[in-house]
């Protein structure tokens, strides 16, 4: 089958699906959906349809980005627009079948929005949803719209058109197009993609390799996972084009084993692409051949670093090596290798189809196009977003993310994964691009964005991220291996109230040594959270080491729980709930927390009925309480 025939077949199928006489039900079956019960939603739909004898197409789709609203189910009834329903439960499925599929009530009460131009009364347009409105979806263009396990869905949506186009171009033209787009590596370092390809293509050594870095290990980051699960063919197509541009026939995808669904969908995609003649020998009848193999990581964060990743593929211990030589000169098995990130590859097909200039029309002067971010933490609408480069942190957090839940004050945002910096409110108007973030002391990273509110202790956050990097350090170079545990120990001491004033300077010095002296990106960025946190939140650090206070009331060693004598009703709820029997008291007696025994779990605070609100959490201060439980009246009279 030639490409034209492939397209025709796919388009016919696609059109038949949407314009046929059966309803189409799309179920968000990415990891985010599955985590909140999408599988049982799917099963209920299947069972219910069977039982009711309703014929419908059930299509699993990837993540559209509204992760906080999962499970998402879209229903398209013949002749009606596609309606998206959020936070679907098996019970809601039954109602939807009854009310919408069997009757004609689209249930605006539980509908989130409609797709397309046709509107349905009482239901807003989905893309006017504040989380989606200002997004520009290029890398994630197909996520949530197509069945990632059906190549025809991809082809019907311009899939492999770019590959077909590229096969008629010269390698230099392909690289030129990518150059025009200004696309920079989406893995975090922001190296111009065209330059990697150009250098690899010029290298005389053979064979060469294309490697896709899908070892997304940052805590709270799931940009790559969404694309892998939602649109695997876009990555394959990007890789095949890269292979064509640099002149090689071998590609590897290094994907973390913790992404089993991504691995499965990639393998299905590879098999289908091979079957269709889009991968393998003589792609689409051309002279060009390309094969892709999946390699699974074994759980080491550092294997996301390029050289460690390649050693891991080679079967060696994943430890970074010093550049030069860069991997385009000496990568896998010492041969020229172009290593690009998942999102980078996913951007390639649209760039080829629409032209580099089109892509470059988005973004800033130096950072072109869009960037995906995994928006998490203390944010009203966590999820996956794709926005043009240069959008400010404020726009992202407030306009798209809906700000902080419960209107609590914003405190900081960490960009770029565990070794990104924590930026304060004063920098919320910073545009998000490679250079500006670096100036502010943070990094773009692969796109993690963790929002923190006033209840977050910046010292504790720093401690957490340093501990993460300490555990994930490979152990090769001295500063990272020896320095991070030392920083971690000091931070542990500080959060335990054993910090000394000079510890803050010591952390700055150690951090400086580690950043300047370390071998790879892990070490050279790991101290970022500490250093930015000290830079922007110094008073909080001083509170810890000088006053022995944790202003955010997080560090357990620095906080205490008290029962206010004047408010305690002697109800006994806290006493019964305390897991360590640290509360003494009795009926109508004022309850008292034994500070020695208290483990600061906060159960008493949580359990104390709101009408009493007798339990308080304090730091660095003592609340006067009676020495032993005394009757409430007696106490009041005494006072």
């Amino acid at each position: 089958m030639d490409f034209k025939q492939l397209c025709e077949k796919a388009t016919t199928e696609w059109q038949a699906l949407w314009h046929g006489d059966k309803p189409v039900i799309l179920v968000g079956l990415a990891t985010c959906g599955m985590a909140v019960g999408a599988s049982s939603v799917l099963k209920t739909i299947q069972d219910e349809l069977t039982q009711r004898n309703i014929e419908a197409h059930i299509i699993p789709v990837g993540c559209i980005g509204l992760c906080y609203l999962e499970p998402l189910v879209d229903i398209v009834k013949p002749g009606h627009p596609r309606i998206c329903y959020a936070q679907i439960t098996p019970e809601k499925v039954l109602q939807l079948v009854e009310d919408y599929l069997l009757s004609d009530n689209p249930r605006p009460d539980i509908a989130l929005g409609t797709f397309g131009d046709t509107s349905v009364e009482g239901i807003p347009k989905l893309f006017e949803h504040p989380m989606l409105k200002s997004q520009v979806r290029i890398a994630t263009r197909n996520c949530g719209h197509i069945n990632p396990e059906d190549i025809n869905h991809y082809i019907a949506n311009q899939g492999y058109n770019a590959l077909n186009k590229v096969l008629k171009m010269r390698c230099e033209e392909v690289i030129e197009e990518v150059k025009k787009s200004g696309l920079r590596g989406r893995g975090g370092a922001g190296f111009p993609t065209w330059r990697k390809w150009d250098e690899a293509s010029r290298s005389k050594a053979t064979p060469k390799f294309v490697v896709c870095n899908a070892d997304e290990g940052d805590p709270g980051a799931f940009m790559d996972r969404s694309v892998l699960e939602g649109d695997p063919h876009s990555i394959l197509e990007g890789m095949i084009i890269a292979g064509y541009a640099i002149g090689t026939s071998k590609g590897y995808i290094y994907v973390r084993a913790e992404y089993p669904l991504a691995v499965r969908r990639l393998q299905i995609a590879i098999d289908q692409a091979r079957e269709a003649g889009l991968l393998g020998d003589n792609i689409l009848g051309s002279e060009f051949s390309f094969n892709i193999e999946i390699m699974q990581g074994a759980g080491a964060f550092v294997c996301g670093e390029g050289s460690a990743l390649m050693y891991s593929i080679e079967g060696k211990r994943g430890m970074p090596r010093v550049r030069p030589p860069r991997s385009v000169a000496s990568g896998l098995w010492g041969l020229p290798t172009s290593l690009n990130n998942v999102e980078t590859f996913a951007n390639i097909p649209p760039i080829i189809i629409n032209g580099g200039e089109w892509f470059a029309s988005y973004g800033t002067e130096t950072s072109k196009g869009t960037k995906t971010f995994a928006l998490t933490g203390k944010i009203a609408r966590p999820g996956l977003i794709e926005v043009p480069m240069g959008m400010t942190l404020r726009q992202i957090i407030y306009d798209i993310g809906g700000g902080i839940p419960d209107n609590k004050p914003f405190k900081a945002v960490q960009t770029g994964g565990p070794s990104g910096g924590c930026l304060p409110e004063g920098l919320l108007d910073t545009p998000v691009d490679f250079e500006t973030l670096a100036e502010a002391g943070s990094i773009m990273g692969s796109g993690g964005m963790v929002v923190m509110d006033k209840d977050t202790c910046m010292v504790d956050v720093a401690r957490y991220f340093i501990a993460f990097c300490r555990d994930e350090s490979c152990g090769k170079c001295v500063p990272c291996r020896e320095g991070l545990p030392l920083m971690s120990d000091i931070l542990e001491q500080i959060t335990q109230g054993k910090g000394k004033p000079e510890d803050v300077e010591r952390l700055v010095e150690l951090g400086d040594t580690i950043m300047k002296g370390s071998l790879c990106g892990l070490g050279t960025t790991a101290p970022n959270p500490v250093l930015t946190s000290i830079r922007y939140f110094r008073s909080e650090w001083e509170a810890h080491v000088i006053e022995k206070k944790c202003p955010a009331l997080v560090c357990k060693s620095l906080i205490s729980f008290y029962i206010l004598p004047e408010k305690c009703a002697g109800c006994g709820i806290c006493l019964r709930a305390c897991p360590v029997e640290a509360i003494s008291g009795g009926k109508r007696l004022i309850h008292i927390i034994d500070q020695e025994r208290c483990i600061k779990c906060g159960t008493c605070l949580e359990k104390c009925p709101e009408r009493f609100s007798a339990v308080v959490k304090v730091t660095g201060e003592q609340v006067a309480v009676p020495e032993e439980p005394v009757p409430i009246a007696a106490q009041s009279s005494k006072m």
Binding site: R321, V322, P324, D471, E472, C474, C477, E482, G483, L486
Partner: protein, 897 residues
């Protein structure tokens, strides 16, 4: 360095100083070359740069951050600063991080004063360690006989891991765990003995701290001095230092700056010397047989008896068995003594049992019977063909070159019936039947000729007798060859193409080629193959017999052979005879003497009456032990000169205690014809004496002139005078480095490659060959083929290695290696004791069931007296070289009821 290779020189600026460096050098190498100190810990010149200790950070104009000097290539015009205040501070901070984790009890550390951490600390000036100390509290690993691993002292520089992987090609240790928990260890934390470790000690020698240290010398303090000498084990001739204190060798360390072993040793050289030298079983007084018993006597008495007993047997009734373990000077004196004093050419030595076909065959083909090229060229070959050599067991340090070449992309062809260690690195493994080498090699040559892959220009210009050879090749079509060798036809063709098309290609062989009843034919076949493809007389080519004993090359060079004087000057050449008669002031016999195997037959037939055996143990090393023992006991008089009371010495009338190699001066000539110094490190033990001294004393007792030597250097002067190929060799020159013969004059630099431009004999001679099967093939009664060889852990008849406790722990006994198929049909379990019987005798040995032996073939080493393989082996001789067929005989294996 490969001849003709030009290196460009670049100029850069380091700390304001103009510095020149070779293109391709790193910034660190350029700085060191210019005498600029940059501290390092993970760097080692024999390893690929690693960049982990971060101490060699520098500032380079136009480069961001602080690149490491060890990993950054120096480029033209580069401007580098190595010592700015910022760098100094950063470096000190990093170093302090290392020290935070390193115990600071230097005074009680065995590495004190030799520790590289101390050196760096002193150089970069550590004022205080303000970081809190971290105690790892790890147990010290004592899981092997030779060294201890105390990872509390480890700084994770990875030098041990890298040397094990990159240089040794083993990878027994690696980093385990990660981050601050990272440790060096074995797979799954197994003990080293259960790992792939071969106990070469490279990790011990490369460790910058006290983390890995040799146990026996750990607490003995610093040596008083270190004496460079040559290893006494195999023919590689590794350079090593004997570290001596108070008359004892404390330990052995490798010499880094030399082209033979480049800082590497094997387990025997590294850990197997001290113990045998100082072994309590060393003979320290002469022993004289009185009333059937060997009793202690004085030198005077012993020498008088020897002189008196030998006097009547001057002439054809006397024979001397010289030794490939002794120095050149000693072998020279042995043959001079035999020829001049005892008036016979009956002198030979164990080269008869290993490389006599090499000497005969390569002399026929090329005009010189020695390794054509040098060890350090092997790494530069594009194709390496190893046939009949288990190199990693027999010549471990040469195997490193092969592994290195293979890693760098060279094609490796292994031809061996056994699955040897090198098979793991091979592109093709030809598992041919023992004894089918001629068929295999001729088959390959037929492919090369049929496919027009021969270098016919070289053949026409440089060789003769090609037509006759070509005709004989026609008999070796692949059907016949495949059937005879048992190797798939396609593999033979592939190997032939690989060898013929990847140049330069080098052939390495050992006793798998020579120890056959047609051993000379085998050697001629390898020579034919090299000539056919023009792979001779150029770097990284040639035919390279790997000589077995430390000085087997030298013993041959010195004329410890029945037909030649030194330098292969024939005894039956009247001009040569005249030359020696004039110099030695005596008359000499032109009649070639008996070979070693013929000597034993002659003793058996009572044609010989007296023998003088120096440093050999024929009872274990020669085929058909029962015959050997009987032959020696029929002698009228036997004098044995050895370090130990060997199986042979026990039969002697007089036993003379010889000094070890560590107790004397001299020279050994290694397998690549390199004459290297042996240096006295300690005084001879007890009353033992150097072999050269003993021979001279006996000669003088017999009234001979010309044995008044005060020092071996004087012997070398005489050798040089009489031997054209050694003409330019003297001790003064050898102080600097070894010299490869031919070295005819004092200004000649030596000859790394033979036959450059022209063969020694003029034209290389092709020899037509026919296939002859081994003399004894399996039959109904003896259905299995026994082939013999060496282990990595033991040496020869075990005289030395079996005195080393650690080696006995690693390999306590000999085994008979049998394939799972044969073991199953004989119902033999792994580890079971079995009886191995041949037409000549039987031994009991432990069965080792292993796929390394092919079905139908069993394998034994000959190191162990308790299960002596040579009770079984065939005495069938090669008609030309008189070497027995030690590699093939028919045996039967029975369960012990």
């Amino acid at each position: 360095m490969i001849v003709g290779e030009q290196t460009k020189i670049i100029t850069l600026t380091i700390d304001g100083q103009q510095v020149e460096a070779k293109e391709g050098a790193t910034v660190l190498e350029a700085a060191r070359e210019a005498g600029i100190y940059i501290p390092t810990l993970c760097y080692h010149p024999s390893l690929t740069p690693y960049g982990a200790c971060r101490l060699c950070i520098v500032e380079i104009e136009s480069m961001r951050g602080f690149p490491t000097a060890c990993t950054t290539p120096a480029t033209e015009g580069m401007v580098i600063k190595t010592n700015t205040p910022q760098l100094q501070e950063l470096r000190r901070n990093i170093f302090e991080l290392i020290l935070a984790e390193h115990p600071k009890q230097c005074l009680t550390c065995a590495k004190n004063l030799r520790c590289e951490l101390q050196e760096v600390a002193a150089r970069i000036g550590v004022e205080e360690i303000s970081l809190p100390p971290i105690h790892k509290d790890l147990p010290v690993h004592q899981d092997n006989p030779f060294f201890e691993r105390d990872y509390n002292l480890c700084i994770l520089c990875g030098r041990c891991v890298r040397v094990c992987q990159e240089v040794r090609g083993i990878g027994a240790i690696a980093f385990t765990y990660r981050g601050s928990q990272a440790l060096v260890g074995t797979a799954f934390d197994k003990s080293l003995q259960d790992s792939e470790c071969q106990f070469c000690g490279a990790c011990v020698d490369i460790c910058p701290t006290g983390a890995i240290m040799e146990r026996s010398s750990k607490w003995l303090g610093l040596p008083e001095r270190s004496v460079r000498t040559t290893c006494p084990y195999c023919g590689v001739g590794c350079q090593l230092n004997l570290e001596v204190s108070g008359g004892r060798i404390l330990q052995v360390s490798p010499v880094w700056e030399n082209s033979v072993n480049e800082g590497q040793l094997c387990v025997k050289g590294r850990f197997g010397i001290t113990e045998f030298v100082h072994h309590p079983h060393r003979l320290t007084t002469p022993l004289i047989r009185k009333k059937g018993e060997l009793v202690e006597g004085t030198w005077e008495e012993a020498l008088n008896i020897v002189a008196e007993k030998l006097t009547p047997y001057k002439g054809e009734h006397f024979a001397f068995m010289a030794s490939a373990k002794c120095t050149n000077e000693e072998n020279y004196l042995a043959q001079k003594f035999t020829r001049k004093v005892m008036q016979t050419n009956n002198i030979d030595h164990c080269a008869r049992l290993c490389h006599s076909p090499t000497v005969a065959g390569l002399a026929t083909s090329f005009g010189s019977g020695a390794m054509t090229n040098s060890i350090n060229e092997i790494g530069g070959a594009a194709c390496i063909f190893v046939i009949g050599s288990n190199t990693s067991s027999g010549h471990p340090v040469i195997a490193l070159q092969i592994k290195r070449a293979a890693r760098n992309g060279a094609k490796l062809i292994i031809a061996n019936p056994l699955e040897i260690d090198l098979c793991r690195y091979a592109d093709i493994w030809l598992r041919h039947m023992p004894g089918s080498d001629v068929a295999l090699l001729m088959g390959m040559m037929k492919v090369i000729l049929d496919e027009n892959l021969a270098d016919l220009r070289f053949v026409t210009e440089c060789c003769d007798n090609f037509d006759a050879f070509r005709e004989s090749v026609e008999d070796f079509d692949l059907d016949f060859v495949g059937k005879t060798t048992g190797v798939p036809r396609e593999d033979i063709a592939r190997a032939a193409r690989l060898y013929a098309t990847h140049k330069p290609a080098v052939i390495l062989y050992a006793m798998g080629i020579t120890q056959h009843s047609h051993g000379t034919d085998n050697v001629l076949a390898t020579a034919n193959l090299a000539m056919l493809t023009g792979n001779i007389g150029k770097p990284s080519t040639g035919v390279n017999p790997l000589r077995g004993q430390n000085n087997v090359q030298g013993a041959c060079d010195m004329g410890a052979l029945p037909n030649v004087y030194t330098g292969y000057q024939r005894v039956d050449n009247p001009d040569i005879q005249k030359k020696f008669e004039v110099d030695w002031r005596c008359s000499l016999s032109p009649k070639p003497g008996l070979t070693l195997t013929e000597m034993l037959d002659a003793a058996h037939n009572k044609h010989l009456a007296a023998m003088y055996i120096m440093g050999e143990n024929p009872v274990l090393s020669d085929p058909d032990i029962n015959h050997t023992r009987e032959a020696l006991s029929r002698l009228e008089f036997l004098v044995v000169q050895d370090m130990f009371l060997t199986e042979t010495a026990q039969l002697a009338d007089v036993v003379l205690p010889a000094a070890s190699f560590a107790e004397k001066d001299g020279t050994f000539t290694n397998t690549e014809r390199r004459v290297q110094r042996v240096r006295k490190a300690i005084e001879p033990l007890g009353e033992s004496k150097p072999d050269w001294w003993i021979i001279c004393q006996i000669a003088k007792k017999l009234g001979a002139q010309g044995f008044d030597f005060e020092h071996p250097s004087e012997v070398m002067e005489e050798i040089a005078r009489l031997t054209p190929s050694y003409g330019g060799i003297n001790y003064k020159r050898l102080e600097e480095c070894g010299l490869q013969w031919p070295c005819p004059t004092e200004d000649h630099p030596g000859t790394p490659i033979l036959h450059v431009g022209k063969f020694v004999r003029g034209l290389g001679r092709f020899t037509p060959l026919q296939y002859t099967p081994p003399a004894e093939l399996p039959d109904g009664e003896y259905p299995l083929i026994l082939t013999t060889g060496r282990s990595l852990y033991h040496y020869h008849t075990g005289t030395m290695t079996r005195k080393v406790a650690g080696l006995n722990i690693l390999e306590p006994e000999g085994t008979v290696d049998i394939s799972p198929a044969d073991a199953a049909s004989l119902k033999i379990d792994d580890g079971e004791r079995v009886k191995v019987t041949s037409r000549r005798g039987e031994v009991i040995a432990k069965a080792k069931v292993t796929e390394k032996s092919p079905p139908g073939v069993v394998f034994m080493t000959f190191h162990f007296a308790e299960s002596a393989a040579n009770i079984l082996t065939s005495p069938e001789l090669d008609p030309i070289a008189k070497i027995p067929e030690l590699k093939v005989c028919a045996v039967r294996i029975d369960k012990i009821k």
